[in-house]
C-alpha cells in the first residue's frame, strides 16, 4: 500500500505525571475521513495540538506527505498543507467574512512583504475567497463582519478559511460542537459532500456525525488508541463498548 498521508509513530506527550498522549501510532490514508473519538479527558485536544504544531511532543514522530514535520511549528505545517478548525471557533472577528477567507488565500500566496497595493483590491486574493464563501454557503454574507455572523455561520467560515488554503489534510476539531440540530445537519451534509475529495481528520463527540462521515474510526482512551477500524467494527468492538460507548449508547 502507498505511504499514508499522515503517519504518527510513538507519539508521547506528558504534563507532569499525566501522560496525555501515550505512544500513539496512527495512519491517515490519502483520501479517507478518519474520525478520532474518545471520552472527555482522553487526550484528543492534546493530540490535535501536536498534529497542528502548537504542542511539541516529548517523543515520537509525525510524518506528513512524506516529510518529517515533528519539528515544524504551526505556520510551517499550515504552509505544507495542513489546515485546521478549532474546537472553539477561531476567526478574525474584526474583519469581514470575505477578509477572513482572503487572508487564508494570502497566507499561501507567497510572502506578504508588500507595502503599497491595497490587499482588498487584489483580485488574486478576493476572487478565490469569494468562490470559497459561495461553496460553503456564505456567498451572501461576504461583507458581514465576522463577529456579527451567527454561530453556525462562523463555523462555516472557519471551514472556508481552512479550505481556501487548499490543504492536503483538513483537521476538524469538533466541527458541530455547540450547533443547533439544523445547523449541525447542514454542516454534516456539507462535510459528507466534501468527503472523498478531501482527506479529513475529524475529532468529534457527536456520534451521529462520526458514524455518518467516517471511513475509519480510532478510539482514544487515557491517551492511548485502543482500537482503529471501520465504524461497524468499532461499534461491535467489546473493549470500545466497555471503555467508551457505555451501555446506553448501544444501538
Amino acid at each position: 500500500m502507498a505511504e499514508p498521508l499522515l503517519e504518527i509513530r510513538g507519539l508521547t506527550k506528558r504534563f507532569g505525571a499525566l501522560t496525555a498522549t501515550d505512544r500513539i501510532d496512527l495512519d491517515v490514508r490519502d483520501g479517507e475521513t478518519h474520525a478520532i473519538i474518545g471520552p472527555n479527558g482522553a487526550g484528543k485536544t492534546t493530540l490535535i495540538g501536536q498534529l497542528a504544531g502548537d504542542l511539541r511532543p516529548d517523543a515520537g514522530t509525525i510524518r506528513f506527505a512524506g516529510h518529517d514535520v515533528t519539528g515544524l511549528g504551526a505556520p510551517a505545517r499550515a504552509r505544507s498543507g495542513l489546515a485546521r478548525s478549532f474546537q472553539i471557533t477561531s476567526i478574525f472577528r474584526e474583519f469581514s467574512a470575505l477578509d477572513n477567507v482572503a487572508l487564508a488565500v494570502q497566507a499561501h500566496a507567497g510572502h506578504s512583504f508588500r507595502f503599497w497595493r491595497p490587499a482588498r483590491r487584489e483580485v488574486a486574493l478576493r476572487d478565490p475567497a469569494r468562490a470559497m464563501l459561495e461553496r460553503v454557503g456564505l456567498g451572501g454574507r461576504a461583507d458581514v463582519l465576522a463577529a456579527n455572523l451567527a454561530h453556525g455561520e462562523q463555523r462555516q467560515l472557519e471551514i472556508a478559511m481552512a479550505l481556501a488554503t487548499r490543504p492536503r489534510l483538513l483537521l476538524l476539531d469538533e466541527p458541530v460542537a455547540g450547533m443547533g440540530a439544523d445547523e449541525s445537519q447542514r454542516m454534516i451534509r456539507f462535510l459528507a459532500d466534501l468527503k472523498g475529495r478531501q482527506t479529513i481528520v475529524l475529532v468529534e463527540h457527536d456520534m451521529d456525525a462520526v458514524f455518518t462521515l467516517a471511513d475509519r474510526v480510532s478510539v482514544l482512551v487515557y491517551g492511548r488508541i485502543i482500537a482503529t477500524g471501520t465504524p461497524e467494527a468499532i461499534r461491535e468492538n467489546a473493549e470500545v463498548r466497555r471503555a467508551y460507548l457505555g451501555e446506553d449508547a448501544l444501538v
Binding site: A52, D54, G73, A74, P75, A76, A78, R79, A83, R84, F86, S90, I91, F92, R93, E94, F95, D99, L103, A104, Q106, A107, H108, S112, F113, R114, F115, W116, R117, P118, A119, R120, E122, M161, A162, T165
Partner: protein, 314 residues
C-alpha cells in the same frame, strides 16, 4: 456613508493645519506657528506608534527611544560641525531603524507585560546613556548651533518653511501608513493582532512582519526626533524619558488606536489642552488628569471614534 464622514474630517483637519501659518501671520501671533509645529511633530511620533500599537497590537512603552535617537543623530553631528540636513536625517532614520531592529528582535518574542517592560527598559537605558554623555551636555543637554541645512532647497530658519516641511512629512507619514496597513503586509500584522493562533494556523509566521512594522515605526519615530530637535534647537536626554513614551502612547489612545488620523487628533488635543490649561493655572495637571480619564472611559474608541465610521480599522 460612514467612512466618508471620516475622510471629510481628515481633509478638513489637514486643511486647518495648512492654514495655520497665514492665520498666525494675520493675527500677528507667531507663537501659534510654534505650537502647531510641535503638535505635528508629536503627531508623526504618535502615528508611527499607532502602526505597531493600534494595528500590530504591540504595546511598546518605549517610543521615546526613537525620538531620542533621531534627535541625538542631528545634535551630535551638528556638534561636530556637520550641519548637512540630508546626512543628519539619513543618520537619524538609519540609526532609529537599527535600534528598532534590535529592540524589536528581543522584545517581540515576549508578550503582554514582558513586552511592555522590555521596551521600557531599553528606552530607560538610552535615557541614562544620554545623561552620561558629558560631551553632549549630559543631564543639561546642549544648544544646537544650527538647524539642519538643506542648501539650495530649504531654509529651516524660516519658521513658515519649517512649518510646511513638518506638515508635508506628517501628510507623507499618514499616506504611507494608510498604504501599509491596507496592503498585504498590514493585513498580516492586523490579523495577528486580531487572533494570533488563527493567523498561525492559516500559515502566517507573525514574527518577521511584526519586526518589519517595528522598524518602519522606528524610522518614522527617528524622523520625528530629527524634527523635534530642530524645533527646540536644544538637545536633551529628556526626549527619551519614559514619561515622553507615555505621552505619545496617550496621544494614540486618546485619539483612537488603529485609525492613523486619531493619533494626530490626540496629539493636538493633548498639547492644546496642556497649553491652554497651563496658561490658566500652574496646577493645570489637576484638570488635565480627570479630563483624560473621562475621555478614555467614555470614548473607548478614542476621540476619532466618536465620528460616524471613525472606529478603528480591523
Amino acid at each position: 456613508m460612514a467612512s466618508r464622514a471620516r475622510a471629510i474630517a481628515i481633509v478638513l483637519g489637514l486643511l486647518a493645519l495648512a492654514a495655520v501659518p497665514p492665520i498666525a501671520a494675520a493675527l500677528n501671533q507667531p507663537f501659534y506657528l510654534d505650537l502647531f509645529r510641535r503638535i505635528m511633530i508629536f503627531a508623526i511620533a504618535a502615528v508611527s506608534l499607532d502602526l505597531i500599537l493600534g494595528y500590530g497590537g504591540m504595546v511598546s512603552f518605549g517610543h521615546a527611544a526613537y525620538l531620542g535617537v533621531g534627535a541625538y543623530a542631528v545634535g551630535v553631528l551638528g556638534y561636530h560641525g556637520i550641519h548637512n540636513g540630508y546626512l543628519q536625517w539619513a543618520v537619524a532614520i538609519g540609526a532609529s531603524m537599527l535600534l528598532a531592529l534590535g529592540i524589536g528582535a528581543v522584545s517581540i518574542r515576549a508578550s503582554g507585560v514582558y513586552f511592555i517592560m522590555i521596551t521600557l527598559a531599553f528606552t530607560q537605558m538610552l535615557y541614562y546613556l544620554g545623561i552620561s554623555l558629558a560631551a553632549y551636555g549630559g543631564d543639561d543637554g546642549m544648544r544646537l548651533a544650527s538647524r539642519s541645512q538643506f542648501p539650495g532647497l530649504l531654509d529651516l530658519r524660516n519658521a513658515t518653511v519649517f512649518y510646511y516641511v513638518v506638515f508635508a512629512i506628517l501628510v507623507a507619514c499618514l499616506v504611507l501608513g494608510h498604504r501599509i496597513v491596507n496592503a498585504r503586509f498590514g493585513m498580516v500584522i492586523r490579523a495577528a493582532r486580531s487572533n494570533e493562533p488563527r493567523a498561525r494556523a492559516i500559515g502566517f509566521s507573525p514574527y518577521p512582519y511584526r519586526l518589519g512594522a517595528f522598524v518602519i515605526a522606528g524610522a518614522m519615530g527617528g524622523v520625528a526626533g530629527a524634527l523635534l530637535v530642530n524645533h527646540t534647537q536644544y538637545l536633551t536626554p529628556e526626549f527619551m524619558h519614559w514619561t515622553r513614551s507615555g505621552e505619545i502612547m496617550f496621544m494614540v489612545i486618546l485619539g483612537g488606536m488603529g485609525t492613523l488620523a486619531g493619533p494626530v487628533l490626540g496629539a493636538a488635543v493633548l498639547l492644546l489642552l496642556e497649553d491652554v490649561l497651563s496658561a490658566w493655572t500652574t496646577h493645570w495637571q489637576i484638570i488635565l488628569g480627570p479630563f483624560l480619564l473621562l475621555a478614555v472611559l467614555f470614548a473607548k474608541r478614542g476621540l476619532f471614534g466618536l465620528l460616524p465610521g471613525g472606529g478603528r480599522d480591523g
